[in-house]
């Protein structure tokens, strides 16, 4: 066969696969490869060996930090599961009142940068001056407060109240696509309400819960901002604060790489576990056939369920927002509410007096939007190939998409730094390195959402197109794309929002002209300018909420509050 004939016979999908594979290699594998090589490299001798691992695990406090992170991740995931799964069920499947409000507030919790939440909770639950402790002392006459945010429970709490939306969204999205017919079938066969829930509804959404739990776990051990603000005063050393120590001068990048690599094993294990959980059971629930979703009557439990949801939302959004607003408009936050304490000065300071903070706002939204488009486009293409089993070895592409979750943002940043800052790419300090790092960092979220969206659509609909003579591309364009529109828009926001608040990747990649808001905000709190930090955080929040509401307005019921009627 001539070359020309071979080329003619070349499957277009093969070209697509090679292209996608090359992009993934560039975004994921190459930086991780540099991490691996770096961890074995000894800069002093120029040789390779395990010396970095010996250094990384040769001290008790390094091992303790590792253990602390695992304990922290487990505790946060457990707390989030206990909170988010019942909430998601109540919102998706019951006639609880105020469901839209709960969804909106959960979105608010998701939109709140964890470090801004940490700042708010320092104002609320600082052991001496915090508002809650002051209130408690005033009411009980006690000499001491009862809350201390600077503690292990405080750290778990502060991370959990901003991480539960992952599990909530995963669970409720899955529950939304479970048709009531299946539950009806169980009822007809004699199962009671709770038996139906535990034997039919919940098992159907177990993969989604497991997926959400894994993301929660990985997200919480990779967090940098909250530990920097809470764990350092609490003297609870975790992996990210330990990595920061390795990165301080004299920089021990190779030791840090060695220190972070075994976490890969943890994630691979979790990923395999998730695969096992999904198993070979089919979970196609959106069939293109009529499926009715009827809310379950909660009866007398309606309002207590609502109160429970509002309690969680109150802790993560309402109270923190109140103290942030107070501080943002205060000359000094400790002086409380009062006309003589009101000022626009903090906004004036961050918008007009500080060119760097103003510029960082533009950078933040440009980088996040670009990264969300890149990540989602890539994730969607790969998820489609994987879910429709169009290619062999699809599992490898899938794994590469999920792999970045393994790597704490800080370490990913170092991988990127090692791979792309210097020759031949020379991306150090550029917008490109920030956008590419954000893309890689949030590829797993994009992929999980794209995968879930495609999984929920029965291939029969596309197969119908193929049978009727349409191409694969026509099936994607005319059947899949319209069906996916809503879930893709929310998936874009699910990448965009965390990208606007991303700190741990940015902190080692930003240059003088590519600073982002998260870095500026941490700098402001570093300086003890809590009022200016609150004002800046409020601007960030307002912008995110505006964008989310625009999405909500454009997509109506398809976005986040989908099918809650």
């Amino acid at each position: 066969m001539s070359v020309r004939a071979r080329l003619r016979n070349l499957e277009p999908s093969f070209v697509v696969v090679v292209g996608l594979g090359a992009i993934l290699v560039f975004l994921v594998l190459y930086p991780l490869f540099w991490l691996l090589v770096g961890s074995l490299y000894n800069p002093a001798s120029g040789g390779f060996g395990l010396a970095n691992f010996a250094a990384a695990y040769g001290r008790e406090r390094y091992i303790i930090a590792l253990r602390n992170s695992l304990v922290l991740g487990t505790a946060v995931t457990a707390l989030c599961s206990v909170v988010a799964v019942p909430m998601a069920w109540a919102v998706s499947r019951t006639n609880m009142p105020g469901k839209t409000l709960v969804r909106m507030l959960t979105l608010g919790a998701f939109a709140t940068p964890p470090y801004l939440g940490a700042l708010a909770w320092i104002l609320l639950a600082g052991p001496n001056a915090g508002w809650l402790n002051a209130a408690y002392r005033a009411i009980t006459g006690s000499a001491t407060g009862i809350f201390n945010i600077f503690s292990f429970p405080g750290l778990v709490f502060i991370i959990a109240i901003y991480s539960y939306p992952y599990l909530f969204v995963f669970t409720s999205t899955a529950l939304d696509s479970v048709s009531s017919e299946m539950e009806d079938a169980a009822n007809i066969l004699g199962a009671g309400r709770w038996r139906t829930i535990s034997r039919v509804t919940l098992p159907l959404v177990v993969p989604a819960i497991a997926g959400g739990a894994i993301i929660t776990f990985l997200e919480s051990i990779a967090l940098f901002g909250s530990p920097a603000m809470i764990a350092i005063p609490a003297r609870y050393n975790v992996v990210t604060t330990q990595l920061l120590e390795f990165f301080s001068y004299p920089v021990r990048v190779q030791v840090a790489e060695a220190y972070a690599l075994p976490l890969l094993a943890v994630t691979v294990a979790l990923y395999l576990l998730q695969q096992r959980l999904i198993g070979r059971r089919g979970y196609v629930t959106l069939t293109g056939k009529s499926g009715e979703r009827r809310p379950i009557e909660l009866g007398r439990l309606r309002w207590p369920a609502f109160a429970g949801c509002m309690f969680v939302a109150g802790l993560s959004v309402v109270l923190p927002l109140a103290v942030i607003v107070q501080a943002a408009f205060a000359r000094t936050w400790t002086r409380g509410f009062g006309l003589d304490n009101l000022t626009w000065g903090n906004f004036h300071y961050v918008l007009l007096e500080q060119p760097a903070t103003a510029r960082s706002m533009i950078n933040t939204f440009t980088f996040a939007a670009a990264a969300a488009v890149l990540a989602l486009g890539l994730a969607l293409a790969i998820a489609y190939l994987v879910e429709r089993k169009l290619i062999r070895f699809a599992g490898i592409l899938s794994f590469l998409c999920l792999a970045p979750f393994v790597v704490p943002g800080i370490v990913l940043a170092i991988g990127f730094y090692a791979a792309y800052a210097a020759r031949p790419f020379f991306l150090y300090g550029t917008a490109a390195i920030m956008i590419l790092a954000f893309t890689t960092r949030f590829l797993p979220i994009a992929y999980a959402n794209a995968g879930a969206a495609i999984r929920s659509i029965n291939p029969e609909m596309e197969e119908a197109v193929r049978i009727l003579g349409g191409s694969r591309w026509l099936a994607v364009r005319r059947v899949l794309a319209p069906l996916l529109k809503g879930s893709l828009a929310s998936a874009w926001l699910l990448v965009f929002i965390p990208a606007t608040r991303e700190l741990s990747t940015a902190i080692f990649l930003y240059g003088p002209n590519t600073q982002v808001m998260s870095v500026m905000l941490l700098n402001l709190t570093d300086e003890g300018r809590l009022e200016a930090a609150a004002a800046f955080g409020l601007l960030l929040l307002a912008a995110i909420i505006l964008i989310a509401l625009t999405g909500f307005g454009l997509l109506g019921r398809d976005f986040m509050v989908r099918r809650s009627e």
Binding site: R61, I64, A65, G126, P127, N128, A129, G130, F150, A228, I232, P233, R235, Y236, N237, T241, Q242, E245, F247, S248, Y249, V251, R331, T332, W333, T334, Y349, E353, Q354, P355, A356, Y417, A421, A422, Y428, G429, F508, G511, P512, N513, Q515, N523, L524, T525, D526, E527, G528, R529, L530
Partner: protein, 342 residues
């Protein structure tokens, strides 16, 4: 080309003028070249962002050269610069930070340019010749003392000396910045180690102080009444006090720690003339006025500090040597991490 342009100036100088007037001509040439460069990037850790921007605006007003301020805590800023240098990225023109050890390292690595500004002569004697070779110069100084909350403590109850901070009555009442993040607190801890040894930190640890990331952060904890006491530079204490916040300064009798912090020009500075002009400015009266308003020490006799800040002649001060910083700070940071667990 640059040299060529300077030749007529130099010739003119030698022919027409005598003595120190030649230096004046140099500055005029530098200023003209700086105006052509039009901008510079300032990596700064020794003062906060608000005052750094204020200084940048003053420089822009005077010379029409725009200053891009990049501000973070000392060790973070140094880490960034180190990254820049190892990547061969020329971002920073001027670097101002707290830990003098960083400057010694940069100098040894050949990353700095020797340049002695005309204004160096005008510095107060105690701030002159920080580096005999002229690679870095003292530009910002503050005394580390004790901040206390005046609603929680009367002046006579405040600790008189550093060892008084170890009294058991301050259990859970102290805030302190981490010496491995803050340059100022690194200097403080190095002096405590020198004076009182490792046991100082072991006893401090037992009191469960709240460890923050920087000295400025801990001032805020004391300002809010979250904690009562903290060792910290005087400048942010007095700045808070001026805003009506109930904090005051206690100068320890065993010695406030006078930290003179350096600035230097990077060898790979993308705006070498603007950088030199900015070094002149940092040692000049305009910048010192910005410092004085923020309650830092003034470095020149012709700019008077605000009356609230005690002059170093009125109090006992310890002056860390260069060796105290280069050897002492890394050593004490490691001891701190072992004693405090992170």
């Amino acid at each position: 080309m640059f040299t060529r342009r300077l030749v007529p100036v130099a010739v003119l100088t030698i022919v027409c003028l005598a003595g120190n007037a030649s230096a004046f001509a140099d500055i005029a040439a530098i200023e003209a070249a700086a105006r052509r460069e039009g901008a510079l990037t300032w990596y700064v850790a020794s003062i906060d962002a608000a005052n750094a921007e204020k200084a940048g605006r003053a420089f822009l007003d005077e010379y029409g050269v725009k200053v891009s301020v990049v501000r973070a805590a000392s060790q973070i800023m140094f880490q960034r610069l180190d990254q820049d240098l190892s990547q061969g990225a020329a971002n920073a023109d001027v670097f101002s930070s707290v830990d003098i050890g960083n400057f010694v390292t940069l100098k040894a690595n050949g990353a700095l340019v020797a340049y002695t500004p005309e204004n160096a002569k005008e510095l107060l004697p105690e701030f002159q010749n920080l580096d005999p070779d002229g690679f870095f110069h003292a530009t910002v100084a503050s005394v580390i003392a004790i901040a206390y909350n005046t609603q929680k403590l009367k002046p006579e109850e405040a600790p008189q000396q550093w060892t008084d901070l170890l009294d058991s009555k301050w259990q859970e009442k102290i805030a302190v910045g981490h010496p491995a993040y803050s340059g100022f607190l690194g200097n403080w801890a190095a002096q405590m180690l020198k004076l009182y040894g490792r046991t100082y930190f072991e006893r401090l640890e037992k009191l469960q102080p709240q460890v923050g990331r920087s000295g400025f952060d801990s001032v805020n904890l004391v300002s809010s009444g979250e904690r009562w006491l903290t060792p910290t530079p005087v400048a942010p204490i007095l700045e808070n006090r001026a805003k009506g916040i109930p904090v005051a300064v206690q100068y320890p009798t065993d010695g406030g720690i006078l930290v003179a912090t350096p600035s230097a020009i990077l060898k790979n500075a993308p705006h070498p003339n603007a950088a030199r002009l900015f070094m002149e400015f940092l040692l000049g009266p305009e910048f010192n006025k910005v410092l004085a308003q923020a309650y830092y020490e003034t470095m020149r006799a012709d700019v008077k500090p605000l009356p609230e800040a005690k002059s170093v002649s009125e109090i006992k001060v310890l002056r860390p040597s260069i060796e105290d910083a280069t050897k002492g700070i890394p050593e004490v940071a490691e001891i701190w991490r072992d004693v405090f667990g992170q």
